[in-house]
Amino acid sequence: MAELRYREALNAALREELERDERVLLMGEDIGVFGGAFKVTDGLLEEFGERRVRDTPISENTIVGIGVGAAMSGLRPVVELMTVNFALLAFDQIVNSAAHIRYMFGGQVTVPLTIRMPQGAGHQLGPTHSHCLEAMFLHVPGLLVAVPATPADAKGLLKTAIRDENPVIFIEHESLYGMKGEVDDDKEATVDFGHARIAREGADVTIVGISRMALTAERAAETLAKEHGVEAEVIDPRTLRPLDLATILTSVQKTNRCVIVEEGWPHGGVGANFAALIAEHAFDDLDAPVARVSGADVPMPYSKPLEDIAFPHEPQIVEAALATLGQRPAAIPGAR
């Protein structure tokens, strides 16, 4: 084990997979000479050269499309989109090509492509630069979606993503790059997709946190225990496709209450999807409706005080959890 930052864990995963498999190459805007907008690819150009670490022009849709073509012909490209916001320019290649090609062509080819991108608010980047779009990717059959919340998962899931035969949307979080944590330094250690992480055990209420919100949920759980005597079970699904629904359902069967926490917009969000799935599979176990805590239903404002109330923090999670226990009025999604 070694203590690494989330950023370093990703860098290590990329380095190890580049060493392990000659078919792996990296493409993206400013990932080489600049070392990556968030320095995730720092040093890799120097180590692996221009053939395998490629700076691209600013052409998101085409970069993803080239990754698809390269993946179809046997390579294992890892495309970095500088942030999720720019992925909106590449939705055609992501959906119509990456996600559908294998099915469309009757299984004649696979598209082992990994598309990495950080998302999230908290840095006052304003409306065009603060999206969380996991709900949109989750919607599309053919894609796998990973949302690592810790350095260990960042490394282990990225290695799995690169080795997986399916196209993977790998969603990092801008606010986590500096976060430190224990990371397995065994080059063969990976973290499986579809295995949720139980971050904290508890019998009173289940809190499912997506990406960074898994950590915020853990802190909220501590507050719930200390200040309210409520023991929350905190689950980080790690991947949204495949989804480890079983672990969530087992927990809800125990707690009979559930709160889903996500940073993105509430309508058609991940929380809505989980709420529907949980109700369908465990309706009689629920003592209260599945509660959702989400980002506010607005473009992300630049001004600090507005941004602060536009995505979830511990208090909203605590309130929502207490509400499922009848100790507070029911919350409506959308941070405030």
Partner: protein, 358 residues
């Protein structure tokens, strides 16, 4: 016509296009060996008869969806595909039956795909717009206009990465040259010196919109210059000229590792798809172009040159018709996919995964 490595004329004007859009006399490209010339005629004939039959099958509701025929464009298809080696890659658009056939996919499997049967080259998942044959390195059939350019360039990247001398040929339409991926991809292919030949099939229309109404520069061979991709043009109604120009482009790209753009000037005799009243063009215009129908023109040329005689021509046509008959029989006999197969091939399922994919 040698590729121009540098621009030498002014940007095209609508007038110039109308010129290029009106039929030109077949150029004087030399004929290949008799056997090769005969094979070209056989393949052009097979494609023509196949698509005519596909149209009939569509009318009889055996084929669904959109059906985009390339009747009139057979010389472009055969001339370009015959410029490739077996290990080269081909990427085309939704107008792709002919490319699959020319690349060697059995007519049976192409027709079965149109019928939506398991015997189809994509097992019935793709249909007319999404043909594919990995063994022939025919890398698809794509429904999104402009969406195939980056994919073809990614395939070329893989060839370059593996240091092979494979070339990828990517066809797309005049209308597709206005799509953002055109500029993005050509710039990147030039910058990375990738072995890809871009062939813009200028059939004068993007659906019902004529070239000069959708593209400010209508001299399409020049549309890559500002992107660092030199261009050239061939007479897409003349299989020999098309082959000569594209073969030269392919070998040049193989040697120089630099992309080239080729404009193939041709014409679509049928509607854009089966649902097209064709109010956007005059019967006269179509008639003028039909005088240059690549099939009879090339057949007559070969007969004139004594490569084949009248009887051979009939034979070639009969063989094509027979083959298409067999393709239809095969398609008819091939079963529809079973309901249980609905979820097959969405994902490559992997033991390591516990969670639910769907």
């Amino acid at each position: 016509m040698p590729p121009q490595s540098e621009p030498d004329v002014a940007a095209g004007t609508p007038e110039q296009t109308r010129a290029s859009a009106s039929p030109q006399p077949a150029s004087r490209a030399a004929l290949p060996e008799p056997e090769v010339a005969r094979e070209w005629l056989q393949m052009m004939t097979l494609i023509r008869r196949f698509e005519e039959r596909a149209g009939e099958m569509y009318a009889r509701a055996k084929v669904g969806g959109f059906l985009h025929l390339s009747i009139g464009e057979e010389a472009t298809i055969v001339g370009s595909t015959r410029a490739l080696t077996e290990t080269d890659y081909l990427v085309s658009t939704y107008r792709s039956h002919g490319y699959a056939l020319a690349r060697g996919t059995e007519p049976e499997r192409v027709m079965a795909e149109l019928f939506g049967r398991v015997g189809g080259c994509c097992g019935g998942h793709g249909g007319s717009m999404h043909m594919f044959d990995i063994e022939r390195r025919f890398m698809g059939g794509y429904g999104i206009v402009g969406g195939n350019l980056p994919i073809a360039t990614g395939i070329a990247l893989a060839s370059d990465y593996a240091q092979t001398d494979e070339v990828t040929l990517c066809t797309f339409g005049d209308g597709a040259s206005n799509q953002g991926t055109f500029g993005e991809t050509l710039n990147l292919a030039a910058l990375w010196r990738l072995p890809v030949v871009f062939v813009v099939i200028n059939n004068q229309f993007g659906m019902g919109t004529s070239l000069e109404r959708h593209s400010a520069v209508t001299d399409l061979q020049r549309k890559g210059e500002s992107l660092g991709v030199p261009g050239t043009r061939c007479d897409g109604m003349d299989v020999a000229d098309t082959h000569a120009v594209i073969a030269e482009a392919v070998e040049r790209v193989r040697a120089d590792r630099r992309p080239v753009l080729v404009e193939a000037v041709t014409y679509r005799f049928r509607g854009h798809s089966m649902a097209d009243p064709e109010e956007y063009r005059s019967k006269e215009e179509v008639a003028r172009w039909r005088e240059r129908d690549p099939l009879p023109v090339f057949g007559a040329l070969l007969e004139g040159e004594g490569v084949i005689d009248a009887h051979d021509r009939k034979e070639i046509d009969r063989e094509a018709v027979d083959r298409v008959d067999r393709a239809v029989e095969f398609a008819e006999d091939s079963p529809f996919p079973a309901a249980e197969s609905l979820y097959e091939d969405v994902y490559v399922l992997d033991e390591q995964v516990r969670g639910t994919y769907h």
